[in-house]
């Protein structure tokens, strides 16, 4: 649910990074936080859960400049990926305006990727949102593993598994080193802002 503040001329949108456990959602946010100027980003909020898994969510607020005179402020959220935290994922999805689905390339995680997308569809429905109408971008993370002996999924396999119905843009990424991170962010931001602006015809607002 976007917030449009006509008095301050600001648009606030919520983008959620979704995906199976250990796929690199928090790593994306950490890289963005590290790479952006202080003036363009707020404090990164991570709920300390004694371990490297996200238990509730991470939040990173960003200022992304102006469109049609409106300051665009995006809040990036992650969800806990582990299957058992479905209730928490549903809470974090409340009011989201855009989605990044981060997929794990490990062959052993193929089923988890597909289940994760189904879980996303289900949890959006609980929030009265429709996956086919939402701005979404796919990120095929950990592509650096393709050069190692670890069995990984090819882009064709990932596309077949995850993108055959969505038909959306995808990005190959290695979030630990930043490859593809900003390309993903830039695309989902554009899609989300366009989605919100078209809904509210912001270009016609004085």
């Amino acid at each position: 649910m976007a917030l449009i503040d006509l008095s301050k001329k600001e648009v606030h949108c919520k983008v959620v990074y979704y995906g199976p456990g250990r796929c690199g959602k928090t790593t994306n946010l950490l890289y963005i936080h590290k790479a952006m100027d202080d003036k363009d980003r707020g404090k990164m909020l991570t709920i300390d859960t004694k371990g490297d898994r996200t238990l509730f969510f991470d939040l990173l607020p960003l200022n992304l400049g102006k469109i049609s005179g409106f300051d665009i402020r995006i809040q990036l959220y992650t969800v806990p990926g582990q299957v058992m935290y479905e209730a928490t994922r549903s809470l974090v999805l409340k009011g989201c305006d855009g989605l990044v689905y981060v997929a794990d390339p490990l062959k052993v995680r193929q089923e988890r990727n597909i289940e994760g997308l189904e879980d996303l569809r289900r949890n959006l429905e609980k929030n009265h949102l429709d996956l086919s109408k939402m701005p979404i971008v796919l990120q095929y993370n950990k592509r650096d593993l393709c050069d190692t002996p670890v069995p990984t999924l090819s882009i064709e396999e990932l596309e077949q598994d995850l993108n055959s119905q969505l038909n959306t843009s995808y990005f190959e990424a290695t979030a630990t080193t930043g490859v593809g991170v900003f390309e993903t962010l830039s695309e989902i931001t554009k899609k989300t802002v366009r989605y919100v602006a078209e809904k509210h015809l912001l270009t016609n607002v004085d």
Binding site: M1, D5, L6, F56, L59, L91, H200
Partner: protein, 133 residues
């Protein structure tokens, strides 16, 4: 869940209601947020030199209230009507405003919880009317 559009008029009206009812009664900060964690109005702390990270506070408060609702459902309740945390020097109260909004109030020991609960309850309908129609 529809998007919120805030106009200068609605923000001014809500701001002055919150200031008159809560800030003038001794509350340090009052934040009106939506259940997705967006800040709709932020009153009070500027006058008192408090450095509050409103964005993080709003996100955590929205999540905390949503989690509390789920806890309520697990024990067969619809929702808990009161969410309040007491600290050494400061206290925080969360009150629901209409279907989608939350009013967060931060206050010291010089203000009673009873007063906050009364004022938040009084404000809730008017604020809901302003933003939710």
């Amino acid at each position: 869940m529809a998007d919120f559009v805030i106009t200068a008029q609605s923000q001014e009206k809500a701001g002055s209601l919150i200031v008159n009812s809560l800030i003038n009664a001794g509350v340090k900060t009052a934040l009106l947020i939506d259940s997705a964690g967006n800040v709709l109005a932020n009153c009070g702390h500027e006058q008192q030199d408090l450095d509050i990270d409103a964005i993080s506070l709003a996100a955590l408060a929205a999540a905390s209230l949503a989690a509390t609702s789920q806890i309520a459902k697990l024990i067969g309740e619809d929702d808990f009507s009161l969410l309040f945390h007491k600290g050494k020097n400061g206290n925080i109260h969360f009150g629901r405003v209409g279907e989608e909004l939350i009013l967060i109030t931060i206050f010291g020991d010089d203000v009673s919880l009873g007063l906050i609960r009364c004022r938040v309850a009084e404000l809730a309908d008017t604020l809901a009317q302003i933003f939710e129609g």
